[in-house]
Amino acid sequence: AQSVSQHNHHVILSEAASLELGCNYSYGGTVNLFWYVQYPGQHLQLLLKYFSGDPLVKGIKGFEAEFIKSKFSFNLRKPSVQWSDTAEYFCALSSGGSYIPTFGRGTSLIVHP
């Protein structure tokens, strides 16, 4: 069975601080990894995804994530956060041939201006 762990449930930062949200997964085979974001009052939407190739993937709004296979991790990073990054962030995993994605519990990020 596959699982996703997000260790930080609540993160509070000031603007311009650097961000790293942890995501670890459990699955022995090939995986596809995603970060989704839900801004207040908006749809849940894709931030970035990793399928194969360069393990460092870049997404919208200056976010990036690095897939480290040896650590089963896919941490999300942003060098300088803005107040508008306040949102709920979800890490997710799907495996080849599975119709069932697995989501982490989410991390609530609050950025103070």
């Binding site: 596809n32 989704y36 994605p101």
Partner: protein
């Protein structure tokens, strides 16, 4: 482009009443469809998914059921609502193959009194 609709946006129902939430997708064919319940701090709980008309898989035993009467229509139902059915329900679709990213609807806030 593809769009996903959910209605109603909010719903207040008495205990024991029936439920019908509807989700429709436009601009694509043969999508994989999903119903989730989102609870604060608990992430996304997958309730049902469907890979085709009339094909429904249940992930969690619930007081709920799902149906897919048409290719791009997904309905979440209950014969008798419980207080514990209150929550935020999200519909999502993904293109084939199923390991692709998901696209989420705006959600329905259900309150059972």
């Amino acid at each position: 482009s593809q769009t996903i609709h959910q209605w109603p946006a909010t719903l207040v129902q008495p205990v024991g009443s029936p439920l019908s939430l509807e989700c429709t997708v436009e601009g694509t064919s043969n999508p994989n469809l999903y119903w989730y319940r989102q609870a604060a701090g608990r992430g996304l709980q997958l309730l049902f998914y469907s890979v085709g008309i009339g094909q429904i898989s249940s992930e969690v035993p619930q007081n709920l059921s799902a149906s897919r009467p048409q290719d791009r229509q997904f309905i979440l139902s209950s014969k008798k609502l419980l207080l514990s059915d209150s929550g935020f329900y999200l519909c999502a679709w993904s293109p084939t193959p199923a390991w692709n990213e998901q696209f989420f609807g705006p959600g329905t806030r259900l309150t059972v009194l």
